[in-house]
Structure formats: structure tokens, C-alpha cells
């Protein structure tokens, strides 16, 4: 009888363990499908690093990354559907471009526009370095400056927002963002809250880090492991200035 119980217990444990490995592999595959420009090796390295720092299991971290990506994807699909019903609605399949100049605004403010750059409609954000100059991170080019007359976006869903903090923090954040010009683009949205402030970065990481380093603000509506452009747009410390 004891032997039977032991055998059953071992079988059950092995089955659960196998299921767990299968789940982890499945999450890795699903995450990579949602973010195909990062390699499996890069993803697993990040996950191991986070697990080591937080004490959480890699399985839990992978699940969290996957959940955040799926939530962002769902938000993107819902907003895309809403834009397409608007008179001038344009599918964001064309990256962050468009025909409407984003126009001027105050230093330290940022703009958001729907964008399907990295396979998903993550959206895109860029910061006003001066009232007429944008600093932003874009795939291919990395962190760049561009004039607000030259930078054009689709108007549907595009907004300019300010950050509720002191002028000093806003100016310092914008100045810090400018120091990142020339850094390459990173496709890793999934764990970008935990990567270093310097080095390669995507658009949302640039603005999030700028205000994290200058003013200790957390411009991320839902926290977690990744900060996506819509997370910055919807952060509680931000206020709508105007629709583009």
C-alpha cells in the first residue's frame, strides 16, 4: 500500500513538474510571439535576473510578463477599433507616422500617438526637449531629436500631456532625455522597468526613466515589469494638454 501511495505521489509530482515546465516554455513562446525582436536568450537572462532580485520564481515572472503584454495588446486592439470608427480614423499599421505636425508645447511635456512599430500596437511617446524640439526613441534610429514641425503623426488618438511636478523636475527630465540622444533602440518592453536607465531604450523607457531619475516619479499606470507607451500616457501624474 505504501509503495502504491509513493508511486502515485511521485507520478503526480512529476506530472505537475512537467506541466510547470510546459507552462514556462509556453509562456516563453507566447512572449516571443508578442515581442519577436528580442531573443529567447535575452528574455530568459532578464527573467533570471528579476527572479534572483525579487525571490519570485521564473514561472511567476514569465506569467506576469505575458499578462502585461496581453493586456497591452487588448488595449491596443480596443483603441484601434475605436479610432477606425472616427471620421479621420487611420489604422496605426504605419508606425508612429502621419500627416499632422505634433506642434509645439512646453518643455518636459510629452506626446502619445498610436503606433504599430514593434509588431504590436504598443503606441509611441516622445518628449518635448524644448517647446519646438522632440527627443524620442524610435526603432532603427534610436534616440533622436526632431523639430515639432517635422514630426508628424496620425491625429486620431494622439495627445499632448504634461506631467504634474515642479518646473525644475520637468526641465531636468527633458535635459536628461536629451543626454540619451544617440543611444540605440531596445525592443524590450516586457522588463524595461528593471533594466538600467542608461544604454539602449525604447520610447516609453526614455520618458519613464527621465522622470524616475529626475523627481522620482513613476509614470506607469499599472506598475509591473514593463512600462509601455500607454502606461506613460495613462499615468496618474499626467494631465491632458490637448488632442493632436
Amino acid at each position: 500500500m505504501k509503495k502504491t501511495i509513493l508511486a502515485l505521489s511521485l507520478t503526480t509530482a512529476m506530472l505537475f513538474s512537467q506541466a510547470s515546465i510546459t507552462n514556462a516554455e509556453s509562456y516563453v513562446d507566447d512572449i516571443l510571439k508578442l515581442q519577436p525582436d528580442i531573443s529567447e536568450e535575452e528574455l530568459l537572462q532578464d527573467v533570471q535576473m528579476i527572479a534572483s532580485n525579487t525571490g519570485q520564481s521564473e514561472q511567476v515572472i514569465l506569467e506576469q510578463i505575458y499578462t502585461e503584454l496581453k493586456e497591452d495588446e487588448a488595449k491596443g486592439i480596443a483603441e484601434k477599433s475605436a479610432y477606425s470608427k472616427e471620421k479621420y480614423g487611420v489604422s496605426p499599421r504605419g508606425g508612429s507616422g502621419g500627416t499632422v505636425s505634433i506642434g509645439s508645447s512646453t518643455k518636459g511635456n510629452f506626446y502619445y500617438t498610436p503606433s504599430e512599430t514593434a509588431y504590436l500596437d504598443h503606441g509611441h511617446v516622445g518628449m518635448y526637449y524644448t517647446s519646438t524640439t522632440i527627443v524620442e526613441s524610435v526603432p532603427s534610429d534610436g534616440v533622436r531629436t526632431i523639430s515639432t514641425s517635422a514630426r508628424k503623426v496620425d491625429s486620431s488618438g494622439s495627445v499632448v500631456k504634461s506631467v504634474s511636478t515642479s518646473t525644475t523636475n520637468r526641465n531636468n527630465a527633458a535635459d536628461w532625455a536629451y543626454t540619451q540622444v544617440g543611444q540605440s533602440y531596445s525592443y524590450n518592453f516586457a522588463t524595461n522597468r528593471l533594466t538600467g536607465h542608461d544604454g539602449a531604450k525604447n520610447c516609453s523607457k526614455l520618458i519613464w526613466s527621465a522622470y524616475k531619475v529626475n523627481g522620482n516619479l513613476d509614470l506607469d499606470v499599472d506598475g509591473g515589469l514593463g512600462v509601455y507607451p500607454r502606461d506613460v500616457r495613462d499615468a496618474s501624474d499626467t494631465v491632458l494638454v490637448r488632442n493632436i
Binding site: 504605419g94 506642434g103 526603432p139 514641425s149
Partner: protein, 392 residues
Amino acid sequence: MKKIIFIGISLIIIFIVIILFKQQNIKDSSQFLSAEDVDKGLLKNTKAVIYLSTTADQDFDNKGLSYSVFVKKDHSTQALTMNGLELGSIAVGKNRLLLEDKNTIRIVDGDIKQFNMDTPQYTGERTGYLPSQDLFFSIYNSGFKESGYNSDVRYGNAEKINVDSIPYYILISGVTEKGINILTQDFETKTFNLREVTFDKELKINDITTLQELTIDSTQALAPILTDEHYYYLILSTIISESKESVSIYRINKKTLEQEKFKLIEYNDVDLTATIPYNYKNSATISQNKLFYANGLGEIYSFDLKTHAVSKAFKLKKASQSKIRHNEETYFKDGNLYVLRYSEDKNGYYYLETYSLDKGKLIDSFDINGLDEIINHSSSKKVYSYDLKVLQ
């Protein structure tokens, strides 16, 4: 009997599919050019060229694309497909064109001479042609390198394309017969400097002067740098608030370097985004002792170079007052203003208007066939207009 009907219906469906496929291919092959299709007849039959491109971010998979769209005299269009270059443009030389993308320069004469560049560029600034040296150039907003900010330059002709760099961020530029004038913006020293770039065997940068009275945080360039015999002219604005802006002409004497400022337009309680020109690189010209400036509301202002009088010369017909745009472009040539327009009431949506600067009225307009199809041809990428050049 059933079998015969089934076979008959199947054959009809296959036949229809083949016909539709062939028709699609015929349409595509006639509207999209390959390099081999480019011959002397192409430029002879071309009225205007439009540059469309994806934005830099759409090149994440190395599949960004651009089109040089040739608008023919019969108003049809043909497009040459290239790689992408956000803010790229076209330069017009003596019966020749320079076409560019992120890593290629093409000189179109009787045929196409193609030069592959080692370093890709993702943001264009200005292309042009210097007749005194029979030389094409293109400047790019390349960004920071180890040595500081760089605006890379490709220049040359059908024999050779050279590469060099201007170590500044360029806010706006303009072309003369002999060189390029650039207004550089230095965010650290908080200064704007007017400089001249020439190509005498190699690229040379001559400092002209530092502009006074400009604030680094709120200055916006709205037009190319223009010149006449005695002066440089810059159209710059100061952003005062989200809905208030002051546009001025800065005039700099070429000999004394004296700087003067003339008020051109004051925007109060206006959606400032709507006032930005359709293309701020092609938004002004000097013609018959007047400087003309076309803003985004379709208003053409004139500044008399002798009396300094400012007036609203004329307005584009049915100009939108909205910031919403549809790839509109402007181009000044030989006393005329050419405008690429869009209307949902038109069959092909896009049309090209010609306004006489002297008469201040519309003198020609024709519908462009097939441009909308080219703009929407790609199912995975989206292109936007960045330049219009009228050849004849």
C-alpha cells in the same frame, strides 16, 4: 450531369481568377517602375515628382519603403519603389534628378546611376543641386556620435558620391547657386548660428554670424533660408503659449551682418498646429522683390523687400482651416506656387494647383490619377509625403 456542372463551374471560377490576377499584374506593372524602366522619356514626360516614405520606425524589419512618384504630363502616375527615408526629398538638376533613400543615392538622367552608401540614414534634412559646380547634395539629421552632433552629407554627381559631415544640429537650411546656408542650433550654448556650407574640392563650413534675440526654448523655423543679393532672410517664430505665436522675418545684411526683425504674422487664440506650413522646407520664396510665405491655413503672405510692407497676398481655394492634413505639399518655381491638394470630392482625391504669385490667383489645376493607389499600395507599411518638385 452533376459532375459536368461541377467541372464547368470550376473552370469558370479558375478562368475568372486568372483574368483578375493578370489584370492586377498589368495594373501593378504599369504603375510601378523598375530601374530598367527609367529612360530619357521618363523625365521628358514628367510634370512633377512627389516623394513618399515610411517613417524611420517602420524600418524596424529593414522593410521601410519610399516612392518617387512621377506625375506625367497626361496626369497619370508611375512610382519607383525604394527603401525608406523619413523626411527624405528630391533634388532637381539640369535635366537630372537626385533620388534618395536610407542607404542609396540615385542620379536619374537617361538612366539611373545607383550608389550604395555604407552608413544608413533615417532622417533627411535637405537635398539640392548647386549649378555652379554641377553638384547634388543631401544632408541628414544623423544624431550624436562620439565626437558630438552630426549632420551627415552625401554629395557628388553621376560619377562619384562623397560622404562627409557637418558637426551641428541643423534647425533649417536653404540652397543658393553656390552653397547651402544652415541655421544651427546648439542646445548647450543656447545659440543659433548662421553658417554657409560650400564644396570646393571638399566640404567647408564658413561661420557667418550668431543670431541675436532668439530663445532656444521657443524658436521654430517655418521656411527655408532665402537670400538675395544683399541679405539672408529667415522666417522664424516664437511660441508664446499653446495658442499664441509670433512669426517674424529676420534679415541679415551679407556685408555688415546687421540683423533686423520684421513682424510677419501674429497668431492669437489659434490652433497653432494648423498654421504650420504643409512643408516648412518648401514654404517660402523670393519673387519680383517680394518674399512670399505660405502657411498651413492656405494664406500666402508677402513682404515687400524695399518698403517692408506686409500683406496677405492671396488664399488657396477652399483651404482647410484644420490641422488635419492629407499629404499636401507646396513648391515655388518661376513665379508660381504649386500645391498638391486633396479632396474627397475628387475621383482620384489628389490634384495639383498652380497659383500665380504676381496675379495672386489660381491659373491651373488638374487631377492626379493613381496617387491614392500608390499611397495605399502597401498593406503592411504606410507612406507619407515629404516633398514635391515641379519639373515643367
